[in-house]
């Protein structure tokens, strides 16, 4: 961890940002040093992304000031009206989600809206773009042909293209918002070496946002911790203990955070044999996956990106016509049924992409909650309002959804509450098995522990639960039994007592060519 020649390049003081109804930042200070990796950590909703959006000129602060220091240490007050202003001052941002046009090639993506022109402004000089893109990619240590369409690249390579997009502006400050959240381990390593290179050889100040603390420990130089839209602490990473950081981030003892417990288990509920799902262009997304779930059991499924986690749950639910294999729920064969019949048999999926697959943003909280179970509140074909409302009231109470009124639009709720609505909707179908795909993704700490409480209480009431997560600790602490998937195959199975994180991680990498 070298810090020769690292000096303050960017300082934000007392940044305050208010959105209608919420305060995102309450007077936060932030410093970034050149030739260093400046980590910014905090739980979801702590204000990290808002702060970075302000630094990158995407959002405008309500108060506070930003200073940029040049090589002589002279301060310049800056304020941005757009990302273009920020780019002009040498600040680039790599967003959490990929913002690429998958049908355009790499060079076209890199030069989007900054096209190199010839003949005045009449003609895009593609050859020049390809050449320059090639140079930037090489600098990033990547052997990617700039003429390749982006859809043909691996996810990790796409992330690199995203970085290359900002690199052609030669930023002095590069903001990276959770760039590793969708990468596999080898891809993460490539990204880290690129970051090392940028800071060592180009003196770039990298602002790195992550909630994976082990990464921060590995590559971070400075750290800033936010919680509940306030600055909690900042300093050198080497001066801080891991447990310290977690406690400051979460605001309570991290060991109490995961409320995992062993559950009393009954007879077998779900039996799945040889689920197979062919992949486009050969190979298998799922390769003969078998599993069982007992009454009151939480079966955790862990795997890296692309291991087939989501596809497994969707196959169980009947989402793929091409999926093959046998499924029994309490002795009843499900694999020939369509989604509605499986739902009625007692299987229900809480999807990973809440807004895209779980919610009706056009409808109220109440109508969202009862959408799967509306048939239970009818007399003949008439919806009995009172019966519907009774159920809605009950479920809102029992899983403590915070909502001003059930007839409010679902889009007004926070992510955590929206997730509870999705869970509530599935609970109202009287399921026997809950398939939960990343139920805590993108929700705040409080809602997270609520979700875990729901999982625990469901298990105690005799539901069978399959919990899929990419967060190892979550799977580890919540599950009675853990299945590890890698490349569509079950590579290991652990009981609660015998599992350890190292073994789980190892099993998840089988077939990835890492030793």
């Amino acid at each position: 961890m070298m810090d020769n020649g690292s000096r303050l390049v960017l300082e934000a003081k007392g940044i305050r940002k208010v959105y209608p109804g919420t305060i995102a930042l309450q007077g936060v200070d932030f410093k970034a040093y050149s030739g260093s990796i400046n980590a910014l950590v905090g739980e979801n909703g702590a204000g990290k992304s808002t702060l970075m959006k302000i630094l990158a000129g995407i959002e405008y602060p309500n108060s506070g000031e930003m200073l940029l220091y040049d090589n002589e240490g002279e301060a310049e007050k800056i304020s941005f009206n757009s990302t273009r202003d920020a780019v002009a001052k040498g600040i680039g941002i790599v967003h959490q989600e990929l913002n690429l046009f998958s049908d355009l090639d790499v060079a076209e993506n890199i030069f989007m809206n900054k096209e190199r022109m010839k003949f005045g402004h009449l003609y895009i000089d593609h050859a020049a773009q390809v050449e320059e893109a090639g140079r930037v990619l090489k600098k990033l240590g990547q052997n990617i042909d700039p003429n390749t369409p982006v859809r043909d690249l691996r996810l990790g390579q796409q992330q690199i293209v995203e970085i290359a997009k900002t690199m052609i502006d030669e930023p002095r400050i590069l903001i990276m918002d959770e760039p590793t959240s969708s990468l596999s381990i080898p891809e993460v390593q490539v990204l880290f070496s690129v970051m090392e290179d940028l800071k060592e050889n180009h003196g770039v100040a990298i602002v790195y946002i992550s909630h994976r603390l082990e990464e921060i420990k590995e590559i971070g130089d400075y750290i800033t911790i936010l919680r509940d839209s306030r600055l909690i602490d900042s300093g050198r990473v080497s001066d801080m203990e891991m447990s310290d950081i977690i406690e400051k981030m979460v605001g309570r003892d991290p060991r109490k955070f995961f409320s995992g417990q062993a559950h009393e288990m009954g007879q077998e509920l779900l039996r799945v044999e040889d689920i197979t799902l062919p992949r486009y262009g050969g190979g298998y997304t799922l390769d003969k996956v078998s599993l069982t779930v007992r009454k009151g059991e939480v079966l955790g499924i862990y795997g890296l990106m692309g291991a087939g986690r989501t596809e497994l749950l969707e196959s169980l639910m009947g989402g793929f016509d091409k999926a093959d294999g046998k499924i029994w729920l309490e002795g009843e064969r499900l694999d020939k049924m369509d989604m509605k019949d499986r739902l009625e048999a007692g299987l229900v999926l809480i999807p990973e992409e809440r807004q895209r697959e779980g919610l009706f943003l056009n409808l109220s909280v109440e109508k969202n909650l009862t959408m799967s179970s509306i048939g239970n509140y009818t007399k003949w074909f008439h919806i009995v309002k009172e019966r519907e409302f009774e159920s809605v009231k009950e479920i809102i109470k029992s899983i403590s959804i915070r909502v001003a009124s059930p007839d409010i639009s679902i889009s007004a709720l926070s992510g955590g509450n929206q997730q509870k609505v999705v869970i509530g909707k599935s609970l109202l179908t009287n399921p026997k098995i809950l398939l939960m795909d990343e139920p805590t993704r993108g929700i705040d700490v409080g809602a997270k522990s609520d979700v875990f409480e729901i999982v625990n209480s469901m298990a105690n009431r005799g539901f069978g639960i399959i919990l899929v997560s990419s967060e190892l600790e979550e799977v580890y602490s919540m599950s009675d039994r853990i299945l590890v998937l890698s490349k569509g195959k079950v590579t290991a199975e652990f009981n609660r007592s015998e599992a350890n994180e190292e073994q789980i991680r190892k099993a998840s990498e089988i077939g990835h060519g890492i030793e």
Binding site: P20, G21, T22, M317, G319, D338, M339, K340, L343, E344, L349, P351, R356, E357, G358, L359, F360, L361, N362, L363, K367, M371, S372, I374, G375, T378, F381, H382, I383, F389, V392, K393, I396, K397, S400, R402, V403, A404, S405, P406, D407, I408, S409, S411, A412, L413, S414, K425, T429
Partner: protein, 354 residues
């Protein structure tokens, strides 16, 4: 934490919000009152009845269209389907069903003819539905295709000629067809009663039954609807079949009013129906809207149509004005949606704080 009982928002939306929500109705009353003042013969019984008849036809088409649009689709074929169904009805009355193979001609009772034609409308709608659900054709394209085909078949049915004088023959038992379009009940045209009846049923189904709820779900988020156990394809199919039904009914009424069926009948009616739906506050992107709104939309168009004629605005300008009204309606709609979301967010934030 949640010891407080849960209840629906009781202090309700603000006055401004209510006015915004009722804007279609207010616009209708506004237009109505203005014409009542400036057009001398506007308030006569004769004119009101003729306006009601015009509006009723558009309202019937618009009700079917509303279902399709809320369900996330669109049905461009309704005008042509109406035309084709009118021709089929006219043909059955005028020349009967000619079975050349057996050398016989079958003349059906008028009611049977109406039922057959309505059934054909539903079948044509199900073709749209099949194209959209099973073959994955975009609704715009599928129904555009049927728009052309149905019109073509309407022309082919008579070689482009009109079936005139559809009064039937007492000897054949197929009289009474004109009564559908020009009959009255309690001094109000049958057509208006039909529109009211269909409107009430459709509004009830969309608000108070699971299938109605499912239409909103499918239009709002198809993926989520599937995962919620809704048979998405069946729901879509049902909306197109219903739209086909209302189109056939419209075709029957138009033929009956004219006592003749002409193959060009119903041209561009699909656009009028869509305009009425949009005027009524239904979102073309699906998942949001109401049957009642569409009926008010049809009324606005009906009043504008007749009122502008009565005050002597040229038909060219009428077209321009109708276009303006539709655009204005959508602009206000967007504004309302924004305000509504802001209000909901505010309400929720207050409760988050507590």
């Amino acid at each position: 934490m949640t010891d407080t009982t849960i209840h629906k928002s009781k202090n309700g939306p603000s006055v401004g919000m209510i006015l915004l929500k009722l804007r279609s109705l207010i616009a209708f009353l506004g237009v109505f009152i203005v014409f009542a003042i400036i057009a001398p013969n506007f308030m006569t019984a004769g004119n009101l009845i003729s306006m009601a008849k015009h509006s009723a036809i558009w309202a019937i088409l618009a009700v079917g269209m509303t279902y399709v649009i809320i369900g996330g689709g669109i049905d461009l074929s309704v005008g042509s389907v109406a035309g084709l169904c009118g021709m089929l009805a006219g043909g059955l009355i005028f020349e009967g069903l000619q079975l050349q193979l057996f050398g016989v001609i079958i003349y059906f009772h008028t009611l049977v003819i109406i039922l057959i034609v309505l059934l054909i409308g539903v079948l044509l709608g199900s073709i749209n539905g099949l194209l959209v659900t099973k073959l994955g054709v975009a609704p715009f394209i599928a129904t555009l295709g049927l728009l052309y085909m149905a019109r073509g078949f309407a022309l082919l049915r008579s070689g482009g000629k009109t079936f005139p004088n559809l009064v039937g023959d007492p000897a054949l038992g197929n009289t009474g067809f004109p009564r559908l379009g020009s009959g009255t009940f309690l001094n109000i045209p049958l057509v208006v009663w039909i529109a009211i009846f269909i409107g009430i049923i459709a509004a009830y189904v969309s608000r108070k039954t699971p299938i109605g709820r499912h239409v909103f779900a499918v239009g709002g988020n198809e993926d989520a609807a599937k995962l919620s156990g809704i048979r998405v394809n069946r729901v879509k199919m049902a909306t197109y079949m219903f739209s086909g039904f209302t189109a056939a009914l419209t075709g029957l009424i138009l033929a009956s009013q004219l006592v003749a069926s002409h193959p060009a009948t119903g041209e561009s009616y699909e656009l009028t129906a869509i305009a009425a739906v949009v005027l009524g506050g239904t979102s073309l992107s699906g998942g949001r809207g109401s049957v009642g709104g569409s009926i008010v939309g049809a009324l606005i168009l009906g009043v504008l149509n007749d009122g502008l004629v009565m005050v002597g605005v040229s038909s060219f300008w009428q077209t321009v004005i109708k276009g303006l009204v539709v655009i204005l309606a959508v602009v206000i709609d967007q504004y309302q949606l924004k305000k509504q979301n802001e209000a909901a967010l505010k309400l929720q934030t207050v409760s988050d704080k507590n």
